[in-house]
Symmetry: C2
Subunit: 228 residues, 2 copies
DNA sequence: AAAAAACTGGACTATTTGGTCAAGAAATTG
DNA sequence: CAATTTCTTGACCAAATAGTCCAGTTTTTT
């Protein structure tokens, strides 16, 4: 995984799997366990309050560690945030890997929609954190958006355009289509509270997501001339 | 306009048009001018940083007033926030007023989509502020969501269902359809940075919105069996 | 024009915040 | 087991913050 984020520089080494031979540090397995705890706590706090309103103390409390200890692993609040953003973008990049002109449009779009809904289901906090970052002007991710993510979208849009040119689907703006799928799926994580309130439920079930994915698939596919 | 929000109580009277005869206060036109300034500044700050990370000082600076003066008009930070939420929900409620079973589905959905995109264009800050509030669990608006907005959605969903029953459009889940329109249009305001980055632009033009609205209309209408 | 009310804004405060430091406890290594 | 390195934690601090207070100024009312 490349270090895409991280405007600051040192520290924040992932002690994970990789070859990663640095001079002295072959340190405790404790390191990893604690970093993980901290990141999980931070994801919760940041996604609930945003960067500015989250206090290191609260992260520490949630992680069950003293504040100084948190700041031992991540030298400051921003570093925690960067590490999270890095994780999120990494996970996102791994997904929906390839898409080929030869592929079947209907099948590909269907699995894209389902994968994205699934991501909203399994990682709602990350999704909300991402949304907060973007809404607030993407101070950290701006670069990433206009490089990596832009290319990601353009590549897929190119394939969709080929499908259209080959008459395999209706002529819709490919970039807009990707945005539509992105937004409508993302919504299920970000606006969970609103949806639950409107549908008068207190919790999503797995079948709610299934239902949502099926609905989106049917409307969008039909909308693209890829009939029922 | 009803005071729907405002968990706190006194103060925060709108000195606007209404009959509103209170004993002594028939105060300066200054009051209104300053309140307006403060609210505009607050909308900007809150939508950029969220409630917790916004400081009264920054609101004051942006409004060109000393902090104490801001706190003279709104006795504390929450009150400013409540007032904004109230405005937003009011504006939202006024829109898309009526929808009748006799109406034409295609026409109605089209104008709904266009109106919502237009709202994203003309009030992006309010839209983002709303999104922030929802993502963070709607601490202030939760009540409103499960009452007013819920009824709003249910009423429209009912009409859509009647259209479906009458065979005037494809059988899609009406609530999901409303959510789809909501999310895909809202997106243009909330994720502006992302969209601009991906499309490699630095600013939206009015025709971008037009294009977006047309795209959404065509895909969603077709998706509902309301062919071009 | 005098009285009353609305408004302005500087000074102040109690609390909270991110971050440092240093001293010691645990673990790892030679 | 001694030396070295990693880890833990309470004490501390400077800066920032929401909100108060109040003395004075301007505007409105009578």
């Amino acid at each position: 995984m490349t270090r895409q984020i991280e405007p600051d520089s040192p520290e924040t080494k992932r002690t994970t799997s990789s070859g990663d031979k640095r001079k002295k540090v072959r340190p405790g397995r404790i390191r990893e366990r604690n970093r993980e705890r901290i990141l999980m706590a931070a994801e919760k706090e940041f996604s609930q309050n945003g960067f500015g309103a989250t206090t290191v103390q609260k992260i520490a409390d949630r992680a069950g560690l003293p504040k100084s200890n948190v700041l031992y692993y991540f030298s400051n609040k921003k570093r925690i945030y960067y590490a999270l953003m890095d994780d999120i973008m990494g996970r996102w990049n791994e997904m929906f890997s390839k898409i080929q002109p030869e592929d079947d449009p209907a099948t590909t779009l269907t699995s894209f929609i389902h994968a994205k809904v699934e991501l909203s289901r399994t990682h709602p906090l990350a999704s909300r954190l991402f949304a907060l970052e973007i809404i607030q002007g993407a101070p950290v991710l701006k670069d990433h958006l206009s490089t990596t993510m832009r290319e990601w979208v353009q590549a897929r849009a190119g394939v969709i355009q080929q499908w259209i040119d080959a008459g395999r689907m209706a002529p819709v703006d490919p970039v807009q289509l990707i945005l539509l799928i992105w937004s409508s799926t993302q919504h299920y994580a970000d606006f969970q509270v609103q949806i639950l309130a409107i549908e008068d439920k207190s919790e999503y079930t797995e079948s709610d997501f299934q239902h949502a994915a099926d609905f989106l698939t049917s409307v969008i596919l039909r909308g693209c001339g890829l009939a029922p």
